[in-house]
């Protein structure tokens, strides 16, 4: 059985939906509604493109390329402002402690201040994707990626440090 035939849409969706959702949530500065809409748009594109999947990349790389590109184009359609802390309040409110909620709010607010590509890269890094896979998704060399990640990490830390809640 070839790789293409072995992947059903349901299987792909169930395997990747949470990661794609968190990716979208990172892009959308923590806006849950936009992130849900965006992750649906990603999977609609995945469904549409599934017949063209040639199996020359890992299915996860293929899905995240579509996710990253959909996000890039979605941002151009609906440039979002960083949401107020009130709007971000509901993020996992039931599951995390108050301190965690506050830290998550800070984190999403900080990610929202990065450039589009930086948001994509740092979200993949936080999702612990291997650098080789991130470089294939984003389409830049691994060396270039390492330099960028180093910069983004310190930029993100600074943004969080300087965030006034």
């Amino acid at each position: 059985m070839n790789q293409k035939a072995s992947h059903s849409f349901t299987e792909i969706y169930e395997t990747h939906k949470q990661r794609v959702y968190r990716l979208c949530l990172g892009y959308m500065s923590g806006d849950i509604d936009l992130a849900k809409d965006l992750s649906q748009e990603v999977f609609i594109k995945v469904w549409e493109a599934l017949s063209t999947f040639r199996g020359d990349a890992r299915i996860s790389t293929w899905v995240y390329r579509i996710a990253a590109n959909t996000c890039l184009m979605y941002i151009r359609k609906a440039k979002t402002e960083v949401k107020s802390s009130l709007e971000l309040e509901s993020i996992n409110a039931d599951a995390d402690t108050k301190e965690n909620e506050s830290d998550i709010r800070k984190l999403y607010r900080a990610i929202g201040k990065l450039s589009e590509a930086e948001r994509i890269i740092i979200t993949f890094v936080l999702e612990e994707m291997p650098y080789s896979e991130i470089s294939q998704v984003v389409g830049i060399t691994e060396n270039n990626l390492r330099v960028r990640i180093h910069r983004i990490k310190s930029k993100l830390s600074d943004l969080i440090k300087n965030d006034r809640l």
């Binding site: 359609k77 984003v138 830049i140």
Partner: protein
């Protein structure tokens, strides 16, 4: 929370989103989206095709146009419509060729090239085409004035003017939207460099 290890810890402390759509719902939405795109594409072709066909029928019928200027006018209008149809079809093919599953850098660059091409098309080319189309119509008017009653003549002129106004407004709106896309894509490409 300034050390990156702390940031990672916070990230991993998030719980999964529980109320996400079912895979079957996404499939239904994708199918509906596909049907809607196909319907829109068919409608566009029918509108362009019907207009083109009616112009061609008008020119080949015995009661059609006789003067050289009228014939030149109708040929100009038909040519512009046909050219516009071809450009739209070509544009769709170009956009479809940009695979969404390519690396983001290459994808954003290709989208940037596409919208830059659309910008050229929407600017000088479309404006020139519109001018030629209106000039073609203007060339028909003397023969219309001779062969039609006054009310029919004014009806055609007013109808064409209203239609031209609406189409121009829609074209300007679409162009502005595409230019806004272009600006945002430029930002996205710059952020990927």
């Amino acid at each position: 929370m300034t050390d990156f290890k702390d940031i990672e810890a916070i990230w991993h402390n998030q719980s999964d989103q529980s109320d996400m759509a079912d895979a079957k719902d996404i499939e239904q939405k994708a199918k509906a989206h596909l049907r809607q795109s196909a319907r829109l594409h068919r409608t566009n072709i029918i509108i362009f095709g019907a207009t083109l066909l009616s112009l061609v029928v008008f020119v080949i019928t015995p009661i059609g146009l006789h003067s050289a200027s009228s014939q030149l006018g109708i040929v100009a209008m038909i040519s512009i419509l046909a050219l516009r149809m071809l450009l739209e079809i070509w544009s769709r093919i170009k956009l479809r060729r940009i695979g969404i599953d390519t690396g983001s850098h290459a994808y954003a660059t290709q989208m940037l090239n596409f919208y830059s091409w659309r910008q050229r098309l929407s600017g000088g080319v479309s404006a020139s085409m519109a001018v030629i189309y209106v000039a073609g119509f203007a060339l028909l008017l003397p023969e219309f004035a001779k062969s039609m009653s006054n009310w029919a003549f004014y009806l055609i002129v007013i109808g064409f003017s209203i239609l031209a106004f609406i189409i121009t407004r829609l074209a300007i709106k679409a162009t502005k939207r595409e230019m806004s896309h272009l600006r945002s894509i430029k930002n996205a490409v710059m952020s990927l460099k």
